[in-house]
């Protein structure tokens, strides 16, 4: 217990040192710090984020460091969350992005709006939220300036998870990392979902082809009336309530498929296309 406490202290202390670099209100002229820097770990994130904290924890949240800046009557909260890994940081960003706006090339991905911004770089998920005296003011330039400066101080990967490239781009509406139970199926522990104009595709990676085969077998047993399909190494298709036409296949250690299409044949057709994109 004492060791755990010491570890906590060390974590917070090391976090403070790092925070000196990328949490800087003076990145943009006219902004000054307002109050002390804040730090949260999994144990106390609820104090700051209320119920939303659970979302952070589901993506392997490690700690958050933040600062509030002020410029006149405007305030800007900057929070940098260290997640379990870069994929989780991207997952956090993708879960919270505004789907009506494009994703910009900021780190692994980002969005800048009139009074807010967010991006993921390396294992860090960054949020900027301004509370402006004039709720209609366009402070995009300020957001961009802070983001540009912060990017230089945050290390890590700048490319989205490679798996996302496996999804076809045509009619793609959005992609997300799902931290647990993809499609609401516990067997599909963690993976990625791509929403299309019609239906959704998913990709889950297991540790080995054998593990993936076991997952597929378990899934098939869940779906009444499932029939075999010729996709990947092995596959099945079914027509079920809630997920409509579905086809799930295994290719090596990858489990993937399509759901919410009009029929199992459509799902199998789309799944076959997806299978060709998976190395």
């Amino acid at each position: 217990m004492r060791a755990a406490g010491l570890l906590l202290t060390v974590l917070l202390a090391s976090g403070t040192a790092g925070a000196q670099d990328y949490l800087n209100c003076h990145f943009v002229a006219g902004w000054e710090p307002s109050g002390a820097k804040r730090q949260y770990i999994a144990d106390n994130l609820f104090e700051y984020k209320d119920g939303s904290a659970e979302g952070y924890l589901s993506f392997g949240f490690v700690r958050m460091q933040g600062i509030t800046c002020a410029s006149g009557a405007n305030t800007l909260d900057i929070d940098v969350s260290e997640m379990g890994d870069a994929d989780s940081a991207y997952g956090m960003f993708a879960t919270n992005l505004d789907p009506s706006l494009p994703v910009a090339k900021i780190g692994m991905g980002g969005q800048v709006q009139r009074q807010s911004a967010s991006f993921a770089k390396g294992k860090y998920y960054v949020e900027l939220v301004e509370v402006a005296a004039n709720p209609d003011s366009d402070d995009t330039a300020t957001m961009q300036a802070f983001v540009a400066k912060m990017l230089g101080y945050i290390e890590g990967r700048e490319t989205p998870p490679a798996v996302l490239e496996w999804f076809a781009k045509e009619d793609l509406a959005s992609t997300r990392m799902i931290p647990e139970s993809v499609l609401g199926l516990r067997e599909l522990k963690q993976g990625y979902v791509a929403k299309y104009k019609l239906g959704q595709a998913f990709i889950v990676q297991e540790a080995s082809p054998e593990a993936a085969a076991a997952v597929l077998k378990s899934l098939r047993e869940r779906f009444e009336g499932a029939t075999s399909a010729k996709v990947g190494d092995e596959a099945f298709q079914a027509k079920v309530k809630y997920l409509d036409g579905i086809c799930i296949f295994r290719k090596g250690k990858t489990i993937a498929g399509y759901a919410n299409l009009s029929g199992p044949e459509d799902a199998a057709t789309q799944a076959a296309k997806l299978a060709t994109r998976i190395p």
Binding site: M1, R2, A4, G5, L6, L8, T9, A42, D43, N44, F46, E47, K49, D50, G51, S52, E54, G55, L57, S58, T95, N96, L97, D98, P99, P135, R176, I178, P179, E180, S181, V182, L183, G184, L185, R186, V193, E221, R222, F223, E224, G225, A238, V240, K241, Y242, L243
Partner: protein, 394 residues
């Protein structure tokens, strides 16, 4: 300290609707063998209670949508009969509301839908409400909570005005407050204030383990005043805080642990419904079984085992350590402050109370003593716990 056994004196008439074999009726889902066996021997039923003065009849198990990633689970839950769904404006920056709205679709008017605003003033709240209505694809919210109220001081008159105005406009039906910490202060204040219909409060089996009746009293006070009580964090936030591989994680994720914890809350007479987070169909199936089934001896055993596991860290406030510390520390108080943080997730409250100790006591470090003179008769590892409090709060 130990959770009580089942009590059936529910607030409502306890309308029971048998839905045995519901899973097979609601689509493809074939439950696991364990589930099937349990379902056969104890059919799943829907239990309802009245949510305080709202008069709404809600299933005692609701649905916390915060971390649900696939709308099909919400849709399935609504079909299975769960009729209370909870989200918030801040969840996933509004994406959660959008997903919930899409998933409920045409069933929206058949369920009780709650969301929350964290806006600090009337104008911000009104903006949030319009966004929530749009994202949830509805023209009214059943319960609109002020999100994360830790103290009565967090609530300003204009926020109450915003709720009342929204009621008059028909945009919300009932006004609520959600509170993660400070319940013992917030709930009695709500009861006295008379402006709120519902409270959403963190409440779980570990909270009674300290022999602390304060939380029970606060909930009873709210319920007596006609405020509908909705419980959240029924697993004490344990699963997500515990790390894979550690004993706590293993214990909390063992089969039946979630169900036992849920039953404990469901069977509390002053709690109308609960909003456990549900991410998949298995969890949904398991949660459904908390309705219509009392807390069994087996459930009690699981909870007892959990409490036993936390025994070395859980102070019962018996006072037998009074005066035992050679440095004069009020040991039980310090352990209580630590419990605020470790047990209830109320880090700020724990730190605040710790820093209210005398400067001399705040400066004490257990590591400076060669040997601890405090021996807890209940097995709490006092020096380790107090040292943790010092490292965490000092």
């Amino acid at each position: 300290m130990a959770p009580k056994t089942s009590r059936r004196d529910f607030l409502s008439a306890g309308l029971m609707v048998p839905v045995a074999g519901a899973s097979s009726k609601f689509g493809f889902w074939k439950p696991t063998e364990t589930t099937a066996a349990e379902t056969a021997s104890s059919p799943v039923k829907l239990d309802y209670k009245v949510l305080g003065r709202t008069g709404l009849k809600v299933t005692t198990v609701g649905f916390g949508c915060m971390i649900t990633s696939d709308g099909s689970v919400i849709e399935r839950a609504a079909d299975a009969g769960i009729n209370y769904f909870d989200t918030a404006r801040s969840y996933s920056h509004g994406n959660n509301e959008r997903m919930v709205g899409t998933a409920l679709g045409a069933k929206r008017k058949q369920v009780v839908l709650s969301t929350k605003t964290h806006a600090p003033d009337k104008a911000g709240m009104q903006q949030h409400l319009e966004q929530s209505l749009r994202e949830l694809n509805t023209d009214y919210i059943d319960i609109w909570y002020l999100h994360g109220v830790d103290s009565p001081a967090d609530v300003h008159d204009d926020m109450i005005e915003a709720q009342q105005l929204a009621k008059q406009q028909g945009k919300i039906r009932f006004a609520g407050v959600s509170t993660h910490s400070g319940q013992k202060e917030v709930l009695p204040w709500m009861a006295q204030k008379g402006a709120f219909d519902v409270v959403l409060a963190a409440y779980n089996f570990s909270m009674s383990a300290a022999g602390d009746a304060g939380m029970e009293q606060a909930i009873a006070t709210a319920a007596k005043a006609g405020i509908g009580v909705v419980a959240m964090k029924v697993m004490a936030g344990g699963i997500r805080r515990a790390k894979h591989g550690d004993p706590l994680y293993q214990k909390l994720t063992q089969p039946g642990a979630m169900l036992a914890a849920l039953k404990w809350v469901v069977n509390k007479p002053n709690v109308a419904t609960t909003i456990p987070s549900i991410t998949d169909n298995d969890q949904l199936e398991e949660n459904l079984k908390a309705m219509g089934n009392p807390l069994s001896a087996g459930d009690q055993k699981i909870l007892d085992a959990h409490l036993e596991m936390i025994r070395p860290v859980y102070c019962r406030m018996c006072g037998q350590c009074d005066g035992a510390c050679q440095k004069g520390l009020p040991v039980a108080d310090v352990l209580r402050f630590l419990t605020y943080a470790d047990g209830y997730g109320q880090f700020a409250l724990g730190r605040e109370r710790f820093l209210e100790l005398t400067a001399e006591h705040v400066a004490v470090r257990c590591g400076d003593c060669a040997e601890c003179t405090v021996q807890c008769p209940h097995g709490v590892h006092v020096s380790d716990r107090v040292a943790r409090a010092q490292e965490l709060f000092a």
